[in-house]
Symmetry: C2
């Protein structure tokens, strides 16, 4: 097989989906691809760089937010939640990568710009963008953890415990708060 960035990221995603984030190591990926770990470092300078590429792949199908208008924000948040939950530990991967990314280079900046264009002050647009991102990532992380807990049968959780079911309502509450700030 041809070893390139794409085959490495695809392999990392397969390991992620099957075994979870703790098992996504350079050694494990190299072993799955039948190469030495050193071969991976020709393509990625560090595990952190590889994880950033994995996060980018997870977010690949997420459209750019086209406006800060309420319906757009809610649709976009639902899409983000959807792509995060498509992979095991997806929210955790994206979160850990965003934590090491300057704000100006992360996905939050576009939200901030659209909100500023829609009438929020610069400071509130920044806070609202960070809040919306953390809210959706938080709901996805909670949903993912619940899912893992049920797979492991460590607890008896009901559908009412599933944070995935409350995503739309929680985002609607946050967006109503943004509308409120806009009209002040």
């Amino acid at each position: 097989m041809n070893l390139n960035r794409h085959t490495i990221v695809t392999c990392a995603l397969t390991i992620l989906d099957t075994y979870g984030l703790p098992d996504v190591t350079m050694r494990r990926i190299a072993s799955a691809l039948s190469v030495q770990p050193s071969a991976l470092y020709w393509h990625f300078a560090s595990k952190q760089e590889l994880l950033a590429a994995v996060a980018e792949e997870i977010l690949h199908d997420l459209p750019r937010l086209s406006s800060g208008e309420s319906t757009r924000l809610r649709l976009w948040a639902a899409r983000l939640h959807g792509v995060l939950l498509r992979h095991r530990d997806g929210a955790e991967v994206v979160w850990s990568v965003l934590a090491l990314t300057p704000w100006e280079e992360g996905i939050g900046l576009t939200i901030e710009q659209r909100l500023a264009e829609s009438g929020l002050t610069a400071s509130l647009a920044h806070s609202a963008a960070q809040g919306l991102l953390n809210l959706v990532l938080g709901q996805a992380l909670s949903a993912d953890q619940r899912r893992q807990a049920q797979l492991l049968n460590v607890t008896t959780l009901t559908d009412a415990d599933d944070p995935a079911t409350t995503l739309d309502d929680t985002v609607a509450i946050f967006v109503a708060g943004i509308d409120q700030a806009r009209s002040c």
Copy 2:
């Protein structure tokens, strides 16, 4: 030293603050207390049970939410954020424990009850409670991750990147959304 649940939890918190969550293992705690790991299992049936006690200790200084009124909600959210950030990986510990806790036994239920009393429908009170919890945990997790990143010097992040500074604004937006839902 007298080995009891309290000394074990205190030791686990010290390891957490010094080395982070991945190092909080039964073996490591036993070694720090100069006992065999088996001695810990007299007090905690599993690592999960120990982590639940650690989370309880982290949340020990958090007052119960006394009403669903806006100012109370904002103050309580700030207090929650504060106790989470008092410990390294504090948000992650609490989150991982909440994920395995039925909703009825977690800290979200009190928020839900106060919100229902304050005029939200049962369904919206549930979503709003989950959203507020995930928003604050999310902001704290982001802030914690940034803090670790700066300690490790892996990136050059500015104060503007610090999610801790946006907590009050993001919570205010969410609470304004709750007020909006109440008045409908």
